[in-house]
């Protein structure tokens, strides 16, 4: 079969790429736990675990309040997107009504649409409605953009759900509402959790929208906070790194636990009919 040499070379290459993948991450971790006085912006091994940088980022860097903002925005966006996407995808997936194909394509359009095509009028609209510098300015546009993925993803699930189950429920006299919530949603937990983690990650990591919509410090999310912090204290490597860890950690934890859901969801992003 395959030669020993090939195996060794294969593992060697894999390990090399794993190291390349991890180097920046390890670098961030080592500066986050490193001492603040080191002027070197490069990486150096920390002298013991130094939690002080996190405390500093939390208080002096205001990351405590940024995290609270991020949590609020993310929870609302994920909850609203999931609910509305399930409802809409249910219609697209199991019902037939005039115009459904056209409407579905309108939703799919949002999957490839770059945010740069929306953000300019969005800013002026929301400012006109007095919503800039509020949580709404972050929540509403992100929910709309996440719906494109949510509707597309959940429709695939509803399309694949066994017709016989739906028919059986109908024969038992269940309304479409009951069929959805008592049968299809419980059955679709894997698909729904994939949608939830993907929308969670996108919302948590979102930067451009926050940069445009929020000018006051009170509504800053963590990515925006990091960008501002790095603009003002770019030499404060330890604090920047600690803040980076605080931002990345929630997503990385969920990713490690639900790795398959993440990969499956992110790779579905290219539309195929």
């Amino acid at each position: 079969m395959t030669s020993r040499f090939e195996r060794v070379a294969g593992y060697g290459v894999l390990i090399l790429f794993a190291i390349i993948s991890l180097t920046p991450v390890v670098g961030i971790l080592s500066s986050a736990f490193g001492s603040q006085s080191s002027l070197d912006t490069g990486f150096s091994l920390p002298d013991g675990l130094n939690w002080g940088n996190f405390a500093d980022a939390w208080t002096r860097g205001h990351f405590g309040s940024y995290l609270a903002n991020s949590v609020l925005v993310t929870v609302v966006v994920v909850a609203v997107t999931s609910l509305l996407a399930v409802l809409a995808a249910y219609a697209f997936g199991v019902m037939r009504f005039p115009g459904s194909t056209l409407l579905f394509y309108l939703f799919v359009l949002g999957l490839t649409l770059p945010q740069e095509a929306l953000v300019v009028p969005l800013y002026f609209d929301l400012r006109h409605w007095g919503l800039t510098d509020t949580y709404w300015a972050l929540i509403l546009p992100q929910t709309a953009q996440s719906l494109a993925f949510g509707v597309f993803w959940m429709r695939t699930y509803f399309r694949g759900s066994p017709r016989a189950v739906i028919d059986a429920a109908r024969i038992d006299g269940a309304s479409s509402w009951a069929t959805l919530w008592r049968i299809l949603v419980p059955m679709g937990r894997p698909a729904i959790s994939t949608m939830v983690v993907i929308v969670f990650m996108w919302t948590w990591n979102e930067f451009l929208l926050a940069l445009v919509m929020v000018s006051d410090e009170a509504h800053r999310t963590v990515p925006l906070g990091l960008a501002f912090f790095q603009g003002q204290h770019s030499s404060d490597t330890a604090l920047l790194a600690a803040a980076s860890v605080l931002i990345a950690l929630p997503v990385v934890i969920v990713y490690v636990l639900l790795q398959r859901r993440f990969i499956e969801g992110m790779l579905s992003g290219s539309v195929k009919e």
Partner: protein, 315 residues
Amino acid sequence: MSAGHLPGGPAGRLRALVGRHYGGRAPGEPRAVGYLYLLPAFILYAVFLLFPLCQTIWLSFVHWDGLTVATEAGLDNYRDLFRDPVLRDSFLHALALLVFYAALPVAIGLLLASVLSRFRVRGMTFFRTVLFLPQVLAMVVVAVAWRSILAPDGLLNDLLRTVGLEGLTRSWLGDYTWALPAVGAVGTWVETGLCLVLFLAGTQRIPRELYEAARMDGAGAVREFFAVTLPGLRAEIAVALTLTMIAGLRNFDLIYITTGGGPGTSTSVPAYQVYHRAFEINEVGSAAAVGVGLTVLIFVLTVAVTRLVEGRNTT
């Protein structure tokens, strides 16, 4: 919950049986109920996505500073995409970055996948988790990490000094020639794992017999790659190219934080110009035209990739 607990009695059952003749209906409801399920999502989507999209198109045909009255611009803003050297270069930079964001990761991913498809890898879950990790990190965090690696006294220059290549050290992000490839390298770092994970999953779906047949015919590793692996991965290559190209063209966060488009305009990209023009120099119409141009570019490339790589038989 089992179906037995559902409400409805004989009447419901009868209604359902009668309803069957119409086929494809919503469970137990008139078909128009579909619109009701759709409505909340559609309203939000229309107000905060479809409506702004139309506005962007309208804005791209006017001159507007964001305050005073907008004036008709005709095709001026679009002409500028080709005439204004800064804008033209931004689009050229974006295309150059696609080499780093899409071409290189796909090539590296294919190479690695073909090596790894030749035997069963132990600890694949671990490797997959690690290689895919850059995809889930906030771009802001990636940018901060790489900024310090590429800094004048950062890790990259330290490494070069250690191996005696002192002469190659430079301020990577501050160099007119090297800033764009340096930003591109970060893109390669982010996207390679995604391609590899896709291709590894793909090679597992290629029937073993094809490889065995190729070997019986005396094909070496190279022939095997072109005869079996590459054709077998067509669909995955199309997906990988689509995802990485979209990521490369949407690239705003990384540029904004690492270089701010500089030095000069040497790393300026369309995504950055949209922000810069609309919110920093108040040329809203021009920003909208760049946004539309970027969108068109993404759609054209996406369709082209699907056509070229997958062939025409996939509609």
